[in-house]
């Protein structure tokens, strides 16, 4: 019966470990701090496995330490220990116990595998989003709304989001740690599906998790979960007309040097590079230059919206090496300033 006491004493320790593990890391980015049901289910599975596995580790460590202390060779000891061949009983025990542990782990794993592969792509209740990964940015298409946007996936808090993901170039992987796991984006017709929901309004960090070239680590995006009514207004605002810059020099530079690749206004779906509509309302420029208010700059990659835009336009290579915007145009300083100014005012009023 002594053995059970041992387990009893360990149980609270395990519980503590699990507690410490959850609620850990940034709320908008940690797999240990889930903000939606899918990530929650994944964390539950992690907790089961961590508990089981910590037990195993503790038992092995305990035996190990005991053995090392008890059976170390003392000075001058020249006795020859008994040469045991093995023990069927013991060997059966440590075959059967792992099997039991694995069954306990396998059952919820299997349940979860099938649960998380549910297909919502035909479900009219769900919000359909087509994700296309590019070196090194993300394109989000809402087929039902006729909108294509980039870098920021705006979603309503009250619906399941059904993702269909693919890539336009190399392999990438679509990952939002605090909301759901990841799914690879494959080329050529092989569309991968996943779903998640974000019941709490907020901004969540998303990442590319598959090596895709030099700026792989900088291929971030944001998921912005908003109230359903805001979401509706966002959809309307995104399809509205957008004015070109009032200064004719800036306008012509913008048209001839930027709009060759980018789009603005209703034809978002036609641009091969990120749609800039509403860029002034996004959390970041290029996914990594975080927009903050004047005076709140704390880190190297944070700055005001205007500064971020200006810096990015001047030298994208300095922020995302190998990106496809580098060297695609030449701008005078005046033009760059004008365009940054113009873009920073390109906001959408929806929240």
């Amino acid at each position: 019966m002594k053995r059970w006491q041992f387990v009893k004493r360990l149980a609270p320790l395990m519980a503590l470990l699990v507690l410490v593990l959850s609620a850990c890391g940034r709320e908008d980015m940690s797999a240990l701090n889930p903000q939606g049901p899918v990530a929650q289910e994944q964390l539950n599975l992690m907790k089961i496995s961590i508990t089981m596995m910590s037990l195993v580790v503790i038992v092995v460590f305990a035996i190990c330490i005991f053995v090392l202390i008890k059976f170390r060779r003392r000075k001058g000891d020249n006795t020859i220990p008994k040469q045991v061949e093995g023990s069927h009983k013991l060997e059966v025990i440590w075959t059967v116990i792992p099997i039991i542990i694995l069954v306990i782990l396998a059952v919820p794993t299997l349940k979860s595998v099938f649960n998380l592969s549910k297909d919502y792509s035909k479900d009219p209740e769900a919000l359909q989003v087509i994700v296309t990964a590019h070196q090194y940015w993300w394109e989000f298409e809402y087929p039902e709304l006729g909108i294509t946007t980039a870098q920021e996936l705006v979603v309503p808090t009250d619906r399941v989001i059904s993702i269909q993901a693919a890539t336009a170039d190399v392999l990438h992987s679509f990952w939002i740690p605090s909301l759901a796991g990841k799914i690879d984006t494959n080329p050529s017709g092989n569309v991968n599906k996943m779903y998640f929901s974000a019941p709490k309004a907020g901004v969540y960090l998303g990442k590319c998790a598959e090596l895709c070239g030099t700026s792989h680590g900088l291929m971030d995006f944001k998921v912005k979960a908003v109230e359903p009514s805001s979401f509706e207004r966002w959809g309307v605002a995104m399809t509205g007309a957008v004015e070109l810059p009032t200064d004719p020099d800036v306008a012509s530079a913008f048209e001839s040097k930027c709009l060759t690749c980018h789009a603005i206004g209703q034809d978002g779906s036609e641009s091969i590079y990120p749609n800039l509509t509403g860029i002034g309302s996004r959390e970041s420029v290029g996914g990594i230059l975080i927009n903050v208010e004047e005076g709140e700059k704390e880190y190297k990659h944070e700055d005001t919206l205007y500064n971020n835009l200006y810096n990015w336009i001047k030298d994208p290579e300095a922020y995302k090496p190998g990106n496809k915007m580098t060297n695609a145009y030449t701008l005078t300083d005046e033009e760059a300033k004008g365009i940054a100014e113009y873009l920073s005012n390109l906001t959408l009023d929806f929240e």
């Binding site: 940034r26 006795t79 045991v84 592969s117 392999l171 796991g181 991968n192 680590g217 090496p321």
Partner: protein, 614 residues
């Protein structure tokens, strides 16, 4: 010169050790550069491009050019001795295997000088590795270098299989074979099945790149998931190819220094075979997020968990080998004991990874980096260090310094855990792997800093180990046959280092742990099965070395056929490539045309050796 022509398995073992050790330093230097780049957020110590080259070359070098060759070094040096054999089955091929590995590895690293280094990760996923997205020669160096090095590995594997099947001393049944030899046997079988898959994959990728094939190019109907499957059908067994010999070493070291027979020998053999088999069945657990569908994910999930069972058997058998024993803390044993809990930690995270839905979170994050370094550094490298300290006297006739060794162990061990333990958490908190920079303010800074400090400590440990080797080289060669005094297997019955012919007289094996068996019966030597007489030995040959050079030239020529232009109507690159092939095939021709009967070591010489030693 002697070293370029040798066909002696012990010398080839040492060659493997030197070359593997050299590449280990190169890979380690790359690792340290990677870690220095990540020491602080948003730093640019190395450029993004160079960073990707570093991770790619670090992974490739460590797996193919450091870990495997050092394992091969020990296998070459020790297996024939444990079997009571005078040589390996094919000494000439053995040398050829070494030289192709060496020149393949050299070719890979020439890429640094040539300025176009592989940069798509050691997994070389298409289409990033294809011509469209890697326009420089990086991937070419990878496919051709590994292709050449892979020949060496395959040859080595076949050689060990033949040696172990055919050259056991009388009485050494399979179930009396030492664990290290058993593990190497299964490893060799895995090599036999896994490496052809790699060869096929590399050849296909080479065709894509050099001759515009379309196996993996999605734009022309190729399939990138196909590459993932081929790569991992090779790649997963590969990790077992690496770890099984380490298991074998740990079994030998723990049992020797516990002065006890290995607990549950037959279940150990069975577990090794089972792990080898399951190793082939679970490759798709690297692809849970590829979109294979729930049925495939479920199957591979459960299959992967099953591996924990035979592995668990091994762990407990090691613990119970020590139980009731008389444990001596030599440096070799410190590494072996350190291995057990470390490997368990790597193993349990493996089980965690096998739960597919949770893997959607772990995959390609630092959690995975932590997991696989726990198994390969904490498992394999610790196993290698244990094996090197344990067999050093047998290979070189001198003992490594125990005092310095202990200091080295602790620095390396603590450095290792500092480096990789925190990485589990980095991954769970959202840090992807293979990132050149991470942003400030994410909560990653401290853990990355700790990790880098740990890596530097491991670097210091490695340097101390080198110093130990240098110091040891200057000591006299005065080891006895059985320097640990508790030796159990046949290698401890002959001189250290072993004479050229290994066993003056082939021993008769009368039980498991043959030498221990004799010692316990009060004998001071094995019973020989033959009188002392002349021993037949193979002749040395320069051909393997030249064949390696030939392949090196070939690879180089074909790779640059596009750039070097033409001379009249022939492409210079192709001409160079063909010359290289002619050299290699010419050597093959010579080898088959010239009769080489080898030579004999005469009786009096053997008697003289024996007289000096006893």
């Amino acid at each position: 010169m002697d070293w370029l022509t040798t066909v002696d398995h012990k010398k080839i073992g040492i060659l493997y050790l030197i070359a593997g050790g050299f590449f280990f330093l190169v890979g380690g230097l790359e690792a340290i550069l990677i870690r220095i780049q990540l020491m602080f957020p948003q730093k640019e110590v190395v450029t993004a491009q160079f960073y990707n080259e570093l991770i790619t070359m670090h992974g490739t070098t460590m797996i193919f050019l450091a870990a495997m060759p050092i394992i091969f070094a020990l296998m070459n040096a020790i297996i024939p001795l444990q079997l009571g054999a005078r040589d390996v089955a094919f000494p000439f091929l053995n040398a050829l295997g070494f030289w192709t590995f060496f020149f393949g590895g050299l070719l890979l690293n020439v890429s640094f000088i040539a300025g176009s280094v592989p940069d798509a990760g050691w997994t070389m996923y298409a289409p990033l590795s294809g011509t469209q997205f890697t326009q420089h020669h990086g991937t070419d160096y990878y496919v051709i270098g590994l292709q050449i090095a892979g020949i060496g590995t395959l040859i080595g594997g076949i050689n060990f299989l033949a040696t172990i099947i055919n050259m056991r001393a009388p009485g050494m049944t399979f179930m009396r074979m030492p664990m290290f030899t058993w593990a190497s046997f299964i490893t060799s079988a895995l090599i036999l099945f896994a490496f052809p898959a790699l060869t096929v994959g590399l050849a296909a990728l080479m065709f894509d790149r050099l001759f515009s094939g379309n196996f993996f190019n999605p734009q022309t109907g190729g399939n990138v998931v196909l590459w993932e499957h081929i790569f991992w059908i090779f790649g997963h067994p590969e990790v077992y190819i690496l770890i099984l010999p380490a298991f074998g070493i740990i079994s030998e070291v723990i049992s020797t220094f516990s002065r006890k027979r290995l607990f549950g020998y037959s279940s150990m053999v069975f577990a090794t075979i089972l792990i080898g088999f399951l190793g082939f069945m679970v490759w798709a657990h690297h692809m849970f997020t590829t979109g294979l569908g729930p049925v495939a994910n479920a199957l591979f999930s459960v299959a992967t968990m099953l591996i924990a069972v035979p592995t668990g058997i091994k762990i407990f058998n090691w613990l119970f080998t020590m139980w009731g024993g008389s444990i001596r803390f030599t440096v070799a044993n410190l590494y072996a004991i350190g291995f057990v809990p470390t490997f368990v930690m790597g193993g349990v995270t493996g089980v965690m990874l096998s739960a597919a839905p949770a893997d959607y979170q772990y995959h390609d994050s630092y959690f995975v980096v932590a997991h696989f370094h726990y198994v390969i550094v904490g498992g394999l490298i610790m196993g290698i260090f244990a094996g090197l300290h344990y067999w050093w006297p047998k290979m070189f006739g001198r003992m490594l310094s125990e005092k310095l060794g202990k200091v080295t162990f602790w620095i390396f061990y603590i450095g290792f855990h500092l480096t990789f333990f925190v990485q589990h958490f980095l991954g769970l908190l959202g840090m992807q792997r293979r990132v050149w920079q991470y942003l400030d303010g994410m909560g990653f800074n401290n853990m990355n800093f700790i990790s880098t400090i740990g890596a530097l400590m491991m670097g210091v440990g490695t340097i101390l180990f080198l110093i130990n080797i240098v110091i040891t080289l200057r000591k006299p060669k005065d080891c006895s046959n059985d320097p640990w005094e508790d030796g159990r297997t046949l290698e401890w019955t002959i001189a250290s280092p072993a004479p050229e012919y290994n066993f003056a007289q082939t021993p008769l094996v009368r039980g498991y742990d043959a030498w221990w068996h004799e010692k316990m019966e009060g004998n001071t030597a094995m019973t020989p099965v033959e009188p002392i007489g002349p021993i037949h030995m193979p002749n040395a040959s320069i051909l393997p070395f030249v064949m390696g050079i030939g392949l090196f030239i070939t690879g180089f020529g074909f790779m640059y056929s596009g750039e070097w232009g033409t001379l009249g109507f022939i492409t210079v690159g192709h001409a160079v490539g063909i010359v290289g092939l002619l050299i290699t095939f010419g050597c093959m021709g010579l080898r088959s045309l010239i009769d080489d009967h080898g030579f004999h070591i005469e009786e009096d010489e053997i008697l003289k050796d024996q007289g000096v030693k006893s």
